[in-house]
Amino acid sequence: MIGIVGYGSYLPRYRIKVDQIAKQWGADPESIKRGLQLYEKTVPGLDEDTITISVEAAKYALKRARIDPQKIGAVYIGSESHPYAVKPSGTVLIDALGIGPHVHVASYEFACKAGTEAMFVAYSLVKASEMDYALGIGADTSQGAPGDALEYSASAGGSAFIMGKENVAAEILFTNSYTSDTPDFWRREGEFYPRHAGRFTGEPAYFKHILNAGKNLLEKSGMSPKDFKFAVFHMPNGKFPQEAGKKLGFTKEQLEAGWIVPWMGNTYSGSSPTGLSAILDLAKPNDKIFMVSFGSGAGSDGFIFQVTDEIEKVRSLAPKVKDMLDNNKIYLDYGEYAKFRRKIILNE
Amino acid sequence: MKDVAVIGIGMTKFGELWNQSLRDIFVEAALKAIENSKVDHIDSIYVGTMSSGLFVGQEHIGAVMTDYLGMNPIPATRVESACASGGAAFRQAYLEIASGQSEIVLAGGVEKMTDGADVTESLATAADQEYEVYNGVTFPGLYAMIARAHMHQFGTTREQLAAVAVKNHKNGSMNPNAQFRSQVSLEQVMKSTMVADPLRLLDCSPVSDGAAAVILCSMDAAKKFTNNPIKVIASAQASDTITLHSRESLTTLKAVSAAAVKAYKQAGIKPADINFAEAHDCFTIAEIVITEELGFFEKGKGGAAVEQGLTSLNGKIPINSSGGLKSKGHPVGATGIAQIIELYEQLTGKAGDRQVNNARIGLAQNMGGSGASCIIHILEAI
C-alpha cells in the first residue's frame, strides 16, 4: 500500500475581509461575496513566506507520520511564490527539520498546481521503490495586483504530505494528469504581479483541464462520483469548484468538507492540498476522496485516495485546518494589509 | 605600584556639533586638558571610542589623534569596551603610570554620532550580534527588558524611572557643557514618546557628539604642575555575559557589583564613604540598578531612593551631579572620561552651581553594553 503517511497544513493568523478590499477600490462587497463566494482570506505576516509556511506544514506532517526525518529521500516544494528566483526553497526546510543531507530536493512551479505536482512526484518515487518516504508540499503567499479581481482571493498557506508504504493513512489508488499549453494566467520573470486573461481563465482553462482530468480519472478507476465520500478541486474562488464538481456529478455535500476557500482564500499551490488536508481531518476509514488540482498554463493533476484505519491514530497529532481557519484570527485593514503584502512603495 | 593623580581636564560641549569633525572635537578636548594641566610633555595617549568605524568610517583613531595633536611619534592606542570605552582608556592610562612605564599620559574619549550612520544599529553592536541583535532587539529594548523585570520583581514604578530623568536634567541644567540644559517635569517624561516599553524617549540618553580628555600623572611628578592633584584611589574592571538572557538574574548587573567590590577593597573604603557618584545612566533604569549594585541602596530599593531625593544634589548620596548621560549627553566613547571630569571638578570645588557639599571622595561607574563590562574609578581629593 502506498500513500500519505503524514499530512500537515499551516495557515497564517492574519485575515482581511473581502469588504475591506472592496471598499478600497469602490467595489460592491455584496456582489463579490455573492458572485465569487469569498468572505475573507489569509494574509501572511511580514515574517512569513513560502519557506516558513512549508516548514510549519511539514513539521506537522512529520508529527503525524511519526518517522525519523532522516528517512525522507526527497523533498519537493511547489509554489509560485518561492522567495528566491534562484535558490531552492527546500534546502532551508531540510536543514530546519533535520532531513538529509542525503535527500533529493527541488522547487516546483506550475501556477496553482505546483503542490499536487510535488505530491505526485513524491508518491511516484516511493512507488518506484527509490526511497521509503518522500515529502511533497504545496505552499504560497499568493500575489494579486491591487484592484485586480485576484486581490479578493490571493491568500497564504500550505500543506505537506509525506508519502510512504508503511502505516499509510490514505492510500493513493489512482492518479491522472491532463495538460495543454493554455495561456490563461502567467507572470513574467522579474514581474511582481501575475497577469490573467479574464474570462479565458474559466471555460477554456480551469474547467477544460479539471473536467478532462476528472473524467479520465473516473474512467481509469472504474468508479463513479457516488463511490466517493469527499471531493476537492482547485479553489480559485468559491464558485468554480462547486461548478466543476456539479459538472462531474458530485454533490454539494461531497464538496463541503474540502470547500474552505470562502474563509481561506486561494492559497494557490496550497489550495486543493489544503482542502484535502481539511478532509483528512474528519474522514473515516475506507472513505474515498476524489481530488483534482488546476494550474494555469495549464494542467490538472487528479488523485483518488482511500482513507485507512491509520487516520484515527494520526489525526489529532497536529493542528486541524478548521481550527486554524476559525481560531486566533487577527484582522487587518487595507492599509495594514498593503504594508504586509509590500504593496506600498518605500524609499529604499 | 605608583600612586596616580588626575591633574588636568578638558572637554567639548556635548550635543549636535554639526560644524566639527571627529578629529576636531578630540583635539579640542585634548588641547584644553593639556593646557589645563600645564604639563610640559605627554608620554602616551589612550583614546576611547566605541565605534568610530561605524559612526564615521574611521578606524586607527590613535594615529589620527596623535597626528592632529602634533604629537608624533608618541604612542597612541585606541581602547574599546563599547560604552565603557572612555573608562577603559582612563584605566589603561592609569595602569601605564602605576606600573612606572610612563609619567604623564593623556586619556581621552570621543564619539561623533550625528554624521548619518544608523545609530540604533551601530549602538546595538555592543550586544550579541548573532543571538540578540539578529532577532531585532535594540539597546533601549535590552534595558526596557531589565526595567520590566525590575518593576515586576521589586515593584519599581514608572514614576520612579521618570524621577531619574527629572533629577538628572535638573543637575544638567547647571552644567555648561551639557547637551540639554533644560529641566523636565515628571509629567513630560511620563508622556514622552514610547521607545521600547516601558522606556520612553526621556528615559533614554541622547545621541551626541563630544570629546573629553584628562591628564594623568604620577603623584610624584604631579606636584611639579599642580597643588591640587586628585588621587586615583581605585581602578577596577569586571565582565559579565554578553547576552542579557544568559544572566541568572535579569535585575542585577553583576559586572557592576564585582567591579565595585574590587574598587572598594583597593581604596580601603565602604560604599558609605563615597560622597557622590557618576553612574552610567544610559537609561533611567540603569541608574536605579547601578545604585543598588554599588551598595548605596538595598536591592530593589533604588527606585524609591530616587523618588525620596536620596540621590539628589543635596541628598544622602548625590548621583550624576553632572546631569549624567541623560542630560549631559552620551557621546559613547567620551562618557567614561567625562565622568572623571565631573569627579575632578567636584573634588577641586569647581563645579559651580551644582557643587556637592564636602565632596572628598567620588566614584565613576562606566558600563558597556547591557552590563557585560563595567569599569569603576574612585578619586579622592588630597
Binding site: I51, V92 | D118, Y131, T138, P140
Partner: protein, 129 residues
C-alpha cells in the same frame, strides 16, 4: 547578512542545536568550546525544547533601519523547558496582550532580509500558546 556568517549559525537558528557539557550537564546555546561553569571541553549536541515561559519583554517602537517597517513588535527573554534562555521576537501577537509568565512556543520565521537583493534570513520567533 553575509553568507558565510549566516550559514554558520544555521544549526542554531533553524534547529535550536545546543551543546550540553558532558561533565556538569550545563546547556549552552549557542554551543561553546569551553564550559564557563566547570571548564570542561567536552560537549554533546542536543536539540532545545521548543516550549518555554516569557521572563521579560519589551515592545520595540523604534527599530534599526532593518526592522523599522515592523514596529511595533515584541521582543522577549524566554526560558525554555530545558532551562536554556534566549532572546526572540514574539510573532503574531497583539503587543498589548503580552505579559510576563506567558507560555510560548518557538516557530520558524523569517527574521530579516538583506535589502531587496540579499539573503532572506530565517530563525526562531516565539508565539503565545
Amino acid at each position: 547578512m553575509i553568507s558565510p556568517r549566516y550559514a554558520r549559525e544555521i544549526p542554531q537558528r533553524y534547529r535550536l542545536e545546543a551543546g550540553r557539557c558532558t561533565v556538569c550537564n550545563a546547556i549552552y546555546f549557542p554551543p561553546r568550546l569551553i564550559c564557563p561553569n566547570c571548564k570542561s571541553k567536552s560537549f554533546e549536541e542536543i536539540k532545545l525544547n521548543e516550549e518555554g515561559t516569557l521572563l521579560t519583554f519589551t515592545i520595540i517602537r523604534v527599530g534599526s533601519e532593518k526592522f523599522s517597517k515592523e514596529v511595533p513588535y515584541a521582543v522577549g527573554i524566554i526560558e525554555l523547558k530545558d532551562g536554556v534562555r534566549l532572546t526572540a521576537q514574539l510573532a503574531d501577537c497583539a503587543v498589548d496582550k503580552v505579559e510576563i509568565g506567558a507560555k510560548v512556543k518557538l516557530v520558524f520565521r523569517k527574521i530579516q532580509e538583506e535589502g531587496k537583493w540579499g539573503l532572506h534570513c530565517y530563525g526562531y520567533k516565539a508565539i503565545l500558546i
